[in-house]
């Protein structure tokens, strides 16, 4: 657990980058710092590993005041992913990854094995290990940056806009892999971004900062979307927040209807409206209008693939999107294995939404209300 206690940073030129910040990043969770440019995110992050010293206040790591620890030792115990990767240009990818283990005195073989393992972990081809950073794409460099931070298996990770230098598709992919990795590793992570969508997607808890380094609100993403503390947060969280909040709402039991289907390569037995095409395992493939193909067998080229597919145990956002995107207006719902369970109509999803509770607003503490609870024995 990382705890900021009334932390203020004023630079020598008088700029107050962080103002009286009190915040707890719970063990094993992702805490995202988000806010407009210059609001003090990087400064806050770098005070944790004392790359920047606070002017006032203290930061503790599992109850220990970091101000009293040896700087180099503290930093070796914290994984730090630097904006734009910051790799060592003169070292190969493997040697970059092995930096901290070597500093900790691991022998060459053990470091090498560990570096190889991590290369794979972050989804990079093993043959990239002998390359130099200049020979990698931006996305690959950022993965190496993450691998380097993970190398000595530190319990705490600081990540400064680690996915900013890549295009939206690769970023989405990196985010998914990051979440999968975190599922396995359960690190205590402080993650900085200026992208509210990234914050909502990745954070167990999101802290919104405003310019001047003041904490505007810290809460779980769903709470933040439902109850912005003030106009600034509401504005920053942005439009569509009602719709986006649905991604945090598990689907209740929807009234699913059974759907008439046709297996690809067979002839439809009716020519009314839209018919769902499935494969031999009942995995939905797309929709078809039988009267357009005139009674012959359904071919791959006939398929209308516009509709998304929702999982029965997924979120309400997924269910609603499946209904809205389906050409038949019936949203396709599948089980864990991807096999068809049934279909649902948009108004049925909407009435399910109306029946769910929104996260309750904490009237006493609008700034910290809805933050991830920290277990008593940790505090």
């Amino acid at each position: 657990m990382i705890r900021f206690d009334g932390v203020t940073k004023q630079f020598p030129d008088g700029t107050v980058a962080v103002d009286d910040l009190s915040l707890t990043a719970p063990t094993g969770k992702i805490t995202v710092l988000v806010g407009p440019s210059g609001c003090g995110k990087t400064t806050s992050l770098r005070m944790v590993n004392r790359m920047i010293e606070p002017t006032r206040g203290s930061i503790s790591l599992d109850g220990q005041d970091t101000g009293r620890m040896d700087q180099a030792e503290l930093r070796r115990g914290i994984g730090y992913v630097i904006q734009h990767a910051g790799l060592f240009p003169h070292r190969t990818v493997l040697d970059n990854i092995g930096t901290v283990p070597r500093l900790l005195g691991w022998d060459r073989t053990k470091t090498r094995d560990r570096s190889r393992e991590l290369l794979e972990r972050v989804g990079l081809d093993p043959h990239l290990g002998d390359r130099y950073p200049a020979q990698l794409s931006g996305g690959q460099q950022q993965r190496v940056g993450v691998a380097r931070a993970l190398a000595a298996d530190p319990p705490v990770m600081l990540m400064d806009e680690p996915f900013s230098a890549v295009d939206p598709i690769v970023r989405d992919q990196l985010q998914d892999e990051f979440l999968r990795l975190q599922d396995e590793l359960g690190k205590t992570i402080v993650f900085v971004t200026h992208d509210i969508d990234e914050a909502i997607k990745l954070g167990d808890q999101v802290a919104v900062l405003r310019v001047g380094g003041v904490l505007a609100q810290v809460a779980e993403p769903s709470y933040l979307l439902a109850h912005p503390a003030d106009d600034f947060v509401a504005d920053f969280v942005g439009r569509d927040r009602g719709y986006r909040a649905l991604q945090f709402q598990a689907t209740p039991r929807l009234p699913l209807r059974s759907e008439r289907t046709v297996v690809l390569g067979e002839r439809p037995d009716s020519d009314a409206g839209w018919l769902l095409v499935v494969d031999d395992d009942r995995h939905p493939l797309g929709w078809v209008e039988p009267r357009r193909i005139g009674g012959r067998a359904v071919e791959d080229a006939d398929l209308h693939r516009g509709g998304t597919v929702a999982r029965a145990d997924g979120t309400l956002r997924g269910a609603l999107d499946a209904a809205l995107s389906s050409p038949a207006r019936r949203g396709v719902v599948v089980d864990d294995s991807g096999a068809l369970v049934g279909t649902v109509l948009a108004h049925e999803v909407l009435s399910a939404i109306e029946d769910t509770d929104r996260p309750e607003r904490d009237e006493d503490d609008p700034v910290h209300g809805g933050a991830v609870a920290v277990a008593a024995d940790e505090a």
Partner: protein, 268 residues
């Protein structure tokens, strides 16, 4: 036609002078002069490195004392020959034997080698990508480790081009040590002119040039071994070092005319 024929005669007698085994052995033979020349050069280079390398690293690492780089660069404007005689007159009387000549000559060579070494080292460290330096501190390197593991290896292309410039200048300039009575290949040159043995003088100049070229090749090889391939690929640091190499070669060439023509002109 006649000039061409005369040139051929000079070149012919130059090569037969060098090819004569009698000119290679003995205390005033080519081999011994070559060793002396190398000895003066290596001594000066080592001393200059001991001074300039730590100083350059310190200035680059801390950003303090930057004015020193500018100041030493300005000092290069002082004429080498004048400096040599000044030191010899000043220090010579208080030193014994060979030292009376060796010390002034070495001081001049060191003064010549320090500016390019200092500038190269300082510029190399300063040009290290700030993100890499920041990352080095961020992963928990101590100041010393940052210098040793990141700043120095990343600075090497520029450090090495400083070394090459300095080495060329030192080898070329060590020739003038003979003017105050020391050995080295300059001896062949100076004595050759003094006694009208022009093939010997030309041989001295040629050997200095050959030595400089060989040294340049050796240092280029060393640089290729020392500098990480990751620093290549046409990025900033490497582009810079290429230009510096060219500058080094140009400067070395400019100093080469300490040959028969120049000296003879000076005598008459």
């Amino acid at each position: 036609m006649a000039r061409g024929g005369g040139g051929a005669v000079v070149i012919g007698s130059l090569f037969s002078w060098i090819a004569d085994p009698a000119h290679w052995s003995g205390s005033d033979g080519i081999l011994n002069r070559l060793l002396e020349h190398l000895w003066y050069s290596v001594l000066a280079m080592v001393l200059a490195l001991v001074i300039a390398l730590p100083l350059g690293l310190y200035i680059g690492h801390t950003g303090r004392l930057r004015w020193l780089v500018t100041a030493t660069n300005a000092a290069r404007a002082v004429p080498t020959l004048g400096l040599l005689f000044a030191f010899a007159l000043w220090l010579g009387p208080s030193l014994r034997g060979d030292l009376a000549f060796l010390v002034p000559a070495t001081i001049v060579l060191v003064l010549l080698a320090v500016p390019p070494l200092l500038a190269g080292t300082y510029a190399g460290v300063e040009a290290v990508d700030p993100a890499a330096r920041d990352a080095a501190r961020g992963v928990g390197m101590t100041g010393w480790q940052v210098l040793r593991q990141v700043e120095l290896p990343c600075a090497l292309p520029l450090v090495m081009s400083g070394v090459r410039t300095a080495a060329l200048q030192v080898v070329a300039t060590a020739t003038i040590a003979a003017l105050i009575g020391l050995g080295g290949l300059g001896r062949l040159l100076v004595d050759g002119i003094a006694f009208g043995d022009y093939p010997q003088a030309a041989a001295g100049a040629l050997l200095v040039a050959v030595l400089a070229v060989l040294l340049e090749g050796l240092l280029a090889l060393l640089q290729r071994r020392l500098v990480s391939p990751g620093l290549g690929g046409g990025r900033g640091a490497v582009g810079g070092s290429r230009n510096d190499d060219d500058a080094a070669a140009a400067e070395a060439n400019a100093r080469m005319p300490v040959g028969p023509g120049g000296m003879a002109g000076g005598n008459s």
